[in-house]
């Protein structure tokens, strides 16, 4: 076989090798101990110097070219094998994945709005106080200046427990105001607290529920007055409803535990069905009751009304949640319908803060 035809034949074999094994076979044929190229190399020793000078480079060149061809083919085959594996491993990436639990879970609007309230009042230097749902008549009424048998008590549609051995009957608190007294008993002024919690009245329709949630506020020091109260409540409403400004109307009213007492309306636009916009429009909507803490309430809390003064307010958490987020029916709050929770609930990682916005 001529030199050239050996090279051509080897290169053709290399090119034809379809896998690693075939390549190895070709390598042995050419470069193995008895391989054709190895045999040629062996012939160099017997050659004259002149002959070697001519044939040496040729044979070595052949060896180099065959070796390179072998390596190139090997790499080629490896790439092909990877390509083939990748093709075989192909998956249908349009198949659905499981959603993240954090995306499925929901925080109830009452919890979320309570957190929003805490964020706002926390910024104004308030802390959060709580109290029991089952109250004594004293804390729920008497200490709050509801005289025995007064019609104002009747307006509360109170849930009662059976009388105990002493004839006293506990009540389900009708408002969060008992915590005012409990706080005054426990700490000296200055007091700045908000009191979110469950409250109960014997009432049930689309906007009344036998159980509902209120948030009470209480400020007591030596100077707090109606002007401060107006500021606190306006700031709260502006921040809570997340509008640049709100217009509020303070109307004289009556509550046993405040004097003077005021009810507060907020200006809004209700012309779009199912939607309330604050900071615009020409409707007034009642949103909360407030007033200067009644001297008798301060006394019940162990404070001298000529030394200390302050204001308090109360509003429905469920109600302001409904106003802000547009739930039409209060009863649905307590039904635990997962469709409702999924729609009106909040994602667990959406935590209300002032620095990142309450709800956006």
């Amino acid at each position: 076989m001529t030199f050239n035809s050996l090279e051509n034949s080897l290169l053709a074999e290399i090119a034809a090798a379809g896998d690693e094994q075939a390549i190895e076979a070709v390598r042995l044929t050419a470069l193995g101990k008895k391989g054709s190229v190895s045999e040629l190399l062996k012939t160099l020793g017997a050659m004259t110097a002149e002959e070697r000078q001519v044939k040496g480079p040729a044979i070595n060149g052949l060896k180099v070219r065959v070796t390179e061809a072998l390596a190139a083919r090997k790499a080629e085959l490896k790439d092909a094998a990877i390509a083939a594996r990748l093709v075989a491993e192909k998956l249908d990436v349009t198949l659905p994945v499981r959603s993240s639990p954090a995306e499925r879970g929901r925080i109830h609007p009452i919890s979320q709005v309570t957190d929003e309230i805490a964020a706002i009042f926390g910024d104004m230097g308030f802390s959060i106080a709580e109290g029991p749902d089952i109250e004594t008549d004293y804390y729920n009424f008497t200490a709050l200046n509801f005289p025995e048998g007064h019609p104002a008590r009747e307006m509360h549609d109170t849930f009662f427990f059976h009388p105990d051995d002493k004839g006293e009957r506990k009540v389900l608190r009708t408002h969060t105001s008992p915590v005012q007294i409990r706080t005054m008993e426990a700490q000296k002024p200055p007091i700045r607290i908000v009191i979110p919690g469950k409250t109960y009245r014997q009432d049930s329709d689309a906007t009344h529920s036998p159980m509902f949630h209120q948030v009470e506020g209480l400020v007591i020091d030596k100077t707090a007055n109606v002007a401060n109260m107006k500021w606190v409540l306006e700031e709260f409403c502006r921040a809570f409803f997340e509008v640049p400004s709100v217009k509020m109307r303070f109307r004289p009213s009556f509550f046993p535990f405040t004097e003077p007492s005021l009810e507060v309306d907020i200006q809004c636009d209700r012309s779009r069905p199912g939607e309330v916009r604050f900071g615009e429009g020409s409707d007034w909507m009642e949103i909360l009751g407030c007033g200067m803490v009644h001297p008798n309430v301060l006394r019940a809390g162990g404070l001298d009304p000529d030394e200390y003064q302050g204001f308090a307010w109360g509003m429905g958490i469920d109600r302001i949640a409904m106003l802000k987020y547009g739930m039409p029916d209060l009863r649905a709050f307590f039904d635990a319908d997962v469709r409702w929770l999924s729609h009106y609930g909040f994602r667990p990682l959406d935590m209300p803060t002032l620095f990142a916005g309450l709800s956006s």
Binding site: L95, S99, A102, R104, G105, I107, S111, A118, G125, S127, E130, P132, D133, I134, P147, G149, H150, P151, E154, M155, F159, F160, K170, L172, R192, K198, Y200, Q202, D203, S204, P210, M211, V219, N225, V226, A227, N228, K230, W231, V232, E234, F250, R251, P252, S253, F254, E259, P260, M292, P295, F334, D335, A336, D337, R339, L341, G345, P348, L349, M351
Partner: protein, 802 residues
């Protein structure tokens, strides 16, 4: 409290418009709830029927030709009224008019083939009375083409205020006028009530046997009255505010009730037997009241009785027996004072709401008792004729006015308002208060009609509301001068953390009722008497819940019944172990139903979700504890959960021998049957308030992180143990073998099989080993493995599986 604009103007001289009056009423604390400016009645005009012919196709219909006074051709109207006739002057409504009484907007219609271009109206169709026997039939001279409402004086705007319970003075139009006048919106017409001189003593004697319930009573007889209909103007006003005119005597009492906030009662004197007594009712005594219902009375209630029995429930409602009707000739007029709380209690007990009760329970003006009776007498004489006897006043000791020492600076102190001293004093005077003294503190005498005012703060409110709440400029609350610290208590933080931790686990937060049915409460360890409501809103909402689980399980079932069976719900709220504050617990609880597992529910191409079970609940419970900062590495799990759990698939989470931090598991079939629900279901409760308060740390610096330079390794062991041996015990034994080197033990396989022997199981663990001082040699590992095997054998009796 309702009244009309013209009625208000009886007492208030004012140029103010309706809008101004309405706005001012709200601004001074008399919140306007509704205003009807009667614009709806404008389209109804007086019209004359020119001809009336029989409808060709209907016996009871006539076809009218009506002159509506607009100068155009007469219009054709089909009418079914029996009194429709040529020459009748009535009230016409053109097509396009909304007719309130039938709630229809008229259009051109065809009635039995004849076109009708409008309607002749009855009083009921205009909602001015219940009259519907025929169309309105006006006098001949009624001006055709003009507004019927103006002609009939029914265009008087109606105002309704939502009166707060502290303002008895504003239960009468006069009192409302006084408030408006004080606020500068006109002048109060203050003409005093002219007394009517009586002739002779009142022949009926009245004795007060219950002076504690009746601090005064005034009575007089008017003989020879003719009790027909009351004057038309009075009827119109009463109708306008929603009262039904009855007869002159009754209408006068109702009128004065609203005009002056002074309820009165009239007895037909001929029906009164002997003398009258004000006394407590006898137990079980009955009365047929004016509402035609019989009431059974108790000695807590006050009555007016004659010798035949109870004639009236004092201050609440009169009796039918001695009521006045068209045959009444002699009338006894009562103007009395009643103890407000007793009236409130009586009305509430009997379930009677009347205009009299509304006023007496707020406290009527005692000084108007006699003038009210004089006013009533005058009106009775004017409307019904007759002659009055002298007024008898029984038991009235007179009114002792309250005085309040009022530092004028209180206005500024409480409201921030700068009101000049003279203005404050003037406001009080205009409201009927009498301030005396020239200094900074004045003695203010409270008028008899303001029982609600008894302190400085009340006077501040009077000045504030009349001066104007809008005058108060908002003032920032003084800054606390520092960046806020933490404002939440540990419990509040944990409550919040528990909610977010569970929601992140794909659960939805529910808020369920604090009260559940007695049956459900008993199933979960509750039901004690102290926690039962005396007046539940529904039978199945009677007991304060001992656990959040029954409410959540029921909620899960409701969702399942709607077609959503795979639900995961949680709640963080209160449960009640007793009726004291410390017996209210703070619980985080959750349930999973169907296949609602952490990774997802239902079928899935890469593997369906299996049914929920005890370990899903356990993972939730531990996640809550971890989020709340409980020392999770020190918790023990015991299989001794309460009876509503599956006894073999539930556990208790404890910290030390005493502190129970939670329970978890699948539920006992009996509990599920009791709740009428089906599974698969699992749930947990974590007692958030039982988690110990974290130790106060002097620094926020975290402990130094020690990273070993030596490679961590893992070794597997499989033990054969008795079936009853708990994995937890085995894991603790393995860790205990070398607390320094062993950093973790993970159970990776548990199985039972015949090959292991009867009552045996295999537990395979992977032990993580972290050398700290040097790389461990084979001998070291062998020694460590031996310690593990020995300790497990010692603690569990387990043997290394061959």
């Amino acid at each position: 409290m309702k009244f009309t604009l013209s009625w208000l103007k009886d007492h208030l001289e004012t140029e103010a418009t309706l809008d101004e009056i309405v706005e001012r009423l709200t601004a001074i604390g008399l919140e306007v709830e509704a205003v009807d400016d009667k614009a709806a009645l404008k389209p109804f005009v007086i019209a004359r029927v020119l001809t009336a012919v029989q409808h060709p196709d209907a016996d009871r219909l006539r076809v009218l030709s009506v002159d509506t006074g607009d100068g155009k051709a007469p219009v054709q109207v089909v009418c079914g009224a029996p009194n429709a006739r040529a020459g009748l002057v009535g009230v016409f409504a053109a097509p396009g008019t909304y007719v309130p009484g039938i709630d229809v907007t008229l259009s051109v219609g065809k009635i039995r083939g004849v076109e009708s271009f409008g309607m002749m109206c009855s009083e009921r169709e205009l909602q001015i009375s219940d009259e519907h026997n025929g169309i309105i039939d006006l006098p001949e001279d009624a001006p055709v083409g003009t507004s019927f409402a103006a002609y009939a004086h029914i265009d008087d705007p109606l105002i309704e205020i939502n009166l707060t319970p502290n303002r008895p003075d504003a239960t009468g139009v006069y009192g409302i006028a006084r408030d408006l006048a004080a606020s500068g919106l006109g002048t109060l017409k203050t003409a005093p009530v002219e007394p009517v001189a009586g002739k002779g003593a009142t022949p009926v004697r009245l004795t007060i046997e219950a002076p504690e319930l009746c601090p005064g009573f005034a009575l007089r007889l008017v003989r020879g009255v003719k009790n027909g209909p009351s004057p038309r103007w009075m009827q119109q006003r009463l109708i306008a505010i929603g009262l039904r005119p009855i007869n002159a005597l009754v209408d006068i009492t109702n009128y004065i009730t609203f005009d002056r906030g002074r309820p009165l009662h009239v007895f037909d004197a001929k029906k009164v037997v002997g003398n009258l007594t004000v006394r407590r009712a006898r137990d079980g005594e009955k009365i047929m009241a004016l509402d035609q219902r019989e009431y059974e009375l108790t000695p807590q209630m006050c009555v007016i009785a004659d010798e035949g029995g109870v004639e009236s429930i004092a201050g609440v409602m009169g009796g039918e027996h001695s009521g006045c009707d068209e045959n009444t000739a002699d009338v006894l007029i009562e103007s009395a004072l009643w103890e407000p709380l007793n009236i409130a209690r009586t009305g509430r007990t009997l379930g009677i709401i009347t205009d009299a009760r509304y006023r007496f329970e707020r406290g009527v003006d005692p000084e108007f008792m006699v003038p009210g009776l004089e006013l009533a007498t005058r009106m009775v004489l004017d409307s019904c004729g007759g002659g009055a006897t002298d007024i008898e006043v029984i038991g009235y000791a007179g009114h002792t006015p309250k005085t309040v020492s009022f530092p004028l600076s209180e206005v500024k102190r409480l409201t921030g308002l700068e009101v000049p001293k003279d203005e404050s004093l003037s406001i009080l005077s205009r409201l009927g208060f009498t301030p005396q003294g020239a200094g900074e503190t004045v003695e203010v005498t409270v008028p008899s009609w303001r029982p609600d005012v008894d302190g400085k703060a009340d006077l501040v409110e009077e000045v504030m509301r009349i001066h104007g709440v809008d005058e108060i400029a908002p003032q920032p609350l003084s800054s606390h001068g520092a960046v806020n610290g933490r404002i939440l208590t540990t419990l509040q933080i944990r409550t919040r953390a528990a909610k977010r931790a569970l929601a992140v686990r794909g659960m939805m937060e529910a808020v369920t009722w604090s009260f559940i049915s007695a049956r459900h409460a008993e199933l979960f360890g509750g039901g004690q008497k102290a926690l039962k409501l005396a007046n539940p809103i529904a039978a199945d909402m009677s007991d304060m819940r001992p656990s959040l689980l029954p409410g959540l399980i029921a909620a899960a079932q409701r969702n399942a019944d709607r077609g959503f069976g795979d639900v995961a719900l949680f709640e963080v709220s209160g449960t009640y172990e007793g009726d004291t504050p410390d017996a209210q617990r703070r619980i985080a609880a959750g349930v999973r139903r169907g296949t609602a597992r952490l990774t997802g529910a239902g079928r899935y191409w890469a593997g369906n979700a299996g049914p929920v079970g005890v370990f899903d609940a356990k993972a939730d419970a531990l996640a809550v504890l971890e989020a709340c900062g409980a020392p999770v590495d020190r918790l023990q799990i015991e299989a001794s959960a309460p009876g509503w759990y599956h006894p073999g698939r539930s556990g208790v989470i404890k910290l030390g021998p005493k502190v129970v931090l939670g329970t978890f598991g699948e539920f006992h079939p009996a509990a599920l049957a009791g709740l009428d629900v089906s599974g698969p279901l699992c749930g947990f409760e974590v007692f958030v308030d039982a988690i110990p308060e974290p130790k106060a740390k002097p620094t926020r610096t975290k402990p130094k992180l020690e990273l070993s330079a030596f490679q961590a390794v893992k070794r597997d062991f499989a033990f054969v143990v008795d079936r009853a041996v708990e994995a937890g015990t085995l894991v603790r034994a393995a860790i205990g073998a070398d607390k320094k080197l062993i950093t973790g033990v993970n159970v990776f396989d548990v199985f039972e099989g015949a090959a292991l022997g009867e009552g045996k199981k295999s537990i395979a663990i992977e032990v993580s080993i972290q050398p700290v001082e040097k790389t461990l040699t084979d001998e070291d590992f062998e020694a460590l493995a031996k310690r593990v095997v020995d300790n497990v054998a010692k603690q569990t009796g387990g043997t290394l599986r061959g």
